[in-house]
Symmetry: C2
Subunit: 540 residues, 2 copies
Amino acid sequence: MRMSLSVEELPLAWLRDNCPCPRCRDPRNGQKLFQITELPVDLALGAVRRTADGVEVDWAPDGHRSAYSARWLTANRPDAGEGSGDRRDETGKTLWAAADLDGGLPEADWAEYLGDPVTKARVLESVLGLGFALLREVPCREGQVLEVAETFGYVRETNYGRLFDVRVEPDPNNLAFTGARITPHTDNPYRDPVPTLQLLHCLSNAAVGGDSGLVDGFKAAALLRAEDPEAFAVLTRTSVPFRFSDARTVLAADRPLIDVDGRGRIREVRFNNRSISTLRLPADELDAFYRAYRTFAEITLRPELQLDFRLSPGDCLIFDNVRLLHARTAFEESGARHLQGAYADIDALAGALAVLRRQRALAGEEFLDGVAELFEDEGAGAYLGEAVTMAQHMLQAAARAEEAGAPGALVAAALLHDIGHFQGPVSGEELMAGTDNRHSHTGADRLVDWFGPEVTEPIRLHLCAVEPEYFGRLSEASAYTLKVQGGPMSLAEVAGYEANPYAADGVAVRRWDDEGKDPEASAPDFAHFRPSLAALLRTA
Amino acid sequence: MRMSLSVEELPLAWLRDNCPCPRCRDPRNGQKLFQITELPVDLALGAVRRTADGVEVDWAPDGHRSAYSARWLTANRPDAGEGSGDRRDETGKTLWAAADLDGGLPEADWAEYLGDPVTKARVLESVLGLGFALLREVPCREGQVLEVAETFGYVRETNYGRLFDVRVEPDPNNLAFTGARITPHTDNPYRDPVPTLQLLHCLSNAAVGGDSGLVDGFKAAALLRAEDPEAFAVLTRTSVPFRFSDARTVLAADRPLIDVDGRGRIREVRFNNRSISTLRLPADELDAFYRAYRTFAEITLRPELQLDFRLSPGDCLIFDNVRLLHARTAFEESGARHLQGAYADIDALAGALAVLRRQRALAGEEFLDGVAELFEDEGAGAYLGEAVTMAQHMLQAAARAEEAGAPGALVAAALLHDIGHFQGPVSGEELMAGTDNRHSHTGADRLVDWFGPEVTEPIRLHLCAVEPEYFGRLSEASAYTLKVQGGPMSLAEVAGYEANPYAADGVAVRRWDDEGKDPEASAPDFAHFRPSLAALLRTA
C-alpha cells in the first residue's frame, strides 16, 4: 500500500486524468467526461488526506476532489510496469515450434465448446496465446463456418463473400482454388485492415494430399531478430506493396512483412509470396530488402517450425491471420476436398473471452455463495441420525483433512463430500428408509462444473472403501446406509476401484467422513475454507 | 528508355522476382508461382538481348529466361521513387483546414452518384483524398445507410450491430446516445483493427443544436510535428490503452494516438478522450505523454481546423475514421435527432474506385473506337448535298480550328459538331426533307457522358449563330436546314444565347462548320485527333 501514501510522487496529469468521480467518468459506461485540455494548466495537489480506503485529493487551483482507493493505486502504480495490455504483441503470446505441440493440438469438441464455458474459454485462449485452435465434430453442413465465427465475433465480409469455398474451381481467381501446393503464408495481405482471424471448416477431404501446416510467424520473426537483427530491422521498416486484382476487384496495401509496435515488439506478420507486387525503392534498399526477405522466407520453411496435420470432415480450424502462416500440400484435383472459410477479427474474440471470464468469475462467486448458504441453512439440519448437523459433519471432515496435511483439493473433497445430501431429490430421511439417492454421485455431478477430478473423484469414490477392516469400523447408521447403497463391493468391483488413480483419496475422504461425527469436536466455519475453494474453481 | 538498356545495373533478385513469364506468374490471376527461396542463391545475369519491345534476359545458373518490356522497366525503375502506393499515408492525402473547403463541401446527389460513374468516382476520391464526402438526397429510410456502404464496400459488423442508431436512448452505453456535446474524436479506438470508415445517415435533425464538425487529424498531426517534434515522437511511440466495457462487451486495443509507417509518415490517427484507460508507464514517460497529448488535443480544438456544418435529413456523411475527427454540438434531448451509422473499410472503397477507373478507362477507349468507326463507316457517306463526305466535313472543321490555334476542347467540338447526324433516328435525307432530328442536341447529349461543357456546349450552340451577317453567308443547304431547325433566332433567343458563356465558342464552331465543306481542302484523319480527344475524356 506504499503508493496510497505517496500520491505526491505520481505524475499529476495522469492522476487527475484517472479521477473516478461521477463528474469525470460517466457512471453508466465508464467513459471520460472531460477533455484533457479542460484540466488546469497549472494543476497542483492541494490537501491530501488518507482515508479508510485509500486517499482523497483536493486539486489546486480548481478545487476538484478525487478519491483513489489503495487497491487502484497499487494496481496501477506507474513503476509496476505496463499492464497486460491487449495481448496483441509478442509479449502476450506463447511462441512455438512444432515440437512444442507434441502434447497435442489445442482442440475441443464442438458440443463441449458450446455447452461448457470453461472449454470455450480454453479454445479462445488458445487462439489468443498460441494463435490457433481446432474444433472437432462441427456439423458438416455448408455455411456452418459462419455459425462458428458468430460464437465469438463477427464475420468480416470481403470480395470473396461472407464465406468462401476452398476447392478446385474451373476458372480460379486465386491459387487457393486449385490443387497446387501452397507454402506457408498469411491471407489477404493486400487488405488493410487485414482480417485478423481466419476460419477453415472441412466438409470433405478425400483427396490424396491436401494436408495442412501451420507455422508461428511470430516465432519465425523472433528467430530472424536473433539470428540477423539487421534483416529484421529492414523488414520492419520496408513497406511492401501487396496487390490483388481480378476482373471485379483491385486491392492494395503497403505494409511491412513484420510490423512492430512503438517499443519494437512484434505485433503483426504478413507473409505471402504470391501477392507481393513490384517494390520501387533505391537499388541498395532493394538489395537489402531481398536479402532480408529471403532469409525470413528460409526461416518460415524450416521443417521444425511447421506443425503438420490433416483436417478431417467436421474439423474447423480457427487461427490468427496476422501471426500464423498456413500451408497445404498439393492434392489431386480430381479428389474431393472442400473447405469453407471465413474471416473475422481477433479483437472481438479477445472481448468474448474477457466477457466469458467476467461471467465465469461472477458465477463462481455465486456458486460459492450458494454453497455457503447450504452450509448455513440445510446444513444446520439433522444428519441421518448422527449426533452432529450435516454442516458440522462436513466441516469436521475438512478440519481432519487439514490437520492431516492433505492438499487443498482433498480438503475440499472432505468439505464437500456429502453435498449431494443437500437439496437432493431424496431427503436424508428417505435415504434412511431405504431409498438411495446416490448421494455421492449427485454431489460430484453438481461439483464437476466447478472443480477438477482431484476434488470430484475422491467424493465420487468415498463410499466404496475397500480396506479389509473397513465395514466393521462404520458407525451403525453408516453401516446401514452403505448396505442400502449397494453394500460392500464384490471382488470385481474392488479390482476396478483399486485401479482408479483416486482410490486412495477416496479412502482418505471416507475416513475423514467417519471421523467427522463427533459432537464434542470443534471445526472452523465455512468462511475459513472459502478462499481455498475459490482458488480451486475451474475458471474460464 | 534508358533503363531498358541497363538491366545490368538493376538489383538482380528484384528483377528476377518480377519476371512476368507464365511459369513465374499465373496468367489467370497474376499471382506469383514461386517462392523467393527457390531462386538460385548465386543468381547472375547471363545473356542480355535487346528486343523490339524491351529486353530479354537469360539467367545464370538456372537458364530461366525473362522478357521485360521497355515500358515496364521505365515505369518501375528503382530510382524513380516509390510508386503511388496504397494512398493510406499522408503523402496520398490532401491535408486541409476549414478555410480550404470554403469552395464547398465534397458532395453529390445520391441519384447522380448511383447513375454516373464519374460522379461516383469523385465522391470516392474525396473520401480517399480529403477524408470525407457528403451524399445528399439519400432516401430517408431506416437501414438505407447499409445500402450506401454496399455501393463501395462491405459493412463491418460490431457489437453495436450492422448499423447503429445515434439518438437519445434511455439507458445509453455510450455518450453518443445522449444529447451531450462530443468533442472531435475518432470512433472505436478500442478496436483493433479499428473500422477505417464511418457512415452517418441523417434521418431527422429537428433538435436545437446537434451540428456537426470535422477536423483533419492528419493536418493536426502534421501541425504537431512542425510545432513540437518531440511531442509528435512521443505520441507515435506510446501505446495508449483504449478500453470499452459494457454489460455484454469488453474491448481493448493498445495503439498510439498517431501511427506512422516505417518512413515516419503519418498513417493513422486515433483520438478519443472518452476511452483512454489508465496508462502504466514509468513516471517520466507518463509526464512526457500527458504533455504531448494535451498539446495535440489543443491543436485538434483550434477553431480554424474545424469544418462546421449541419446534417439535414437525407444527408449521408462518409468519412475516414483513422484520419478525420468528428464532433457534434450538444442538443436538446427532447428534440428529434436521429442518425443511423455504420462502419466499413477504406481498402474496399479504394478498390471500388480503382475498378471504376479501370472500367471507365476501358469504356473511354471503347467510346473512341466507336467514334473512329463512325468516321470510317457512316462518315464516308454523303453530307446532305454538300460536295464532301460527313467525315471530310468534320475533319476539315477540326483542321480549320486547329489552324486557328483553338484550344483542344474547341478543336474537339469542331471535330464532333455533327456527330448527332450519325446513327441518329432520322437520316440526313429525312432532315433535308424537313424532319428535324435536332442533330446538334443529339450529338451533345451523346457526348455529355464523356466531355465537359467546354466541348459539348459549343456543339449544342453551333446552330444558333447570331452574327448580323451570319444567315447570308450560309451555303444553300445550310441555309435550308437552319430554316428547318427553327430558323434564325428571335431577339429574345439571341439575348439568352449571348448570355451563354460558350456563345463565342458556338459561333466559332459554326464558322469552322461552314468552312469545312471544301472538296479540294485537305485534313488529317481521325487518328490525328484521337490522342487529344482521349485527354479530354471525363475519367473516373
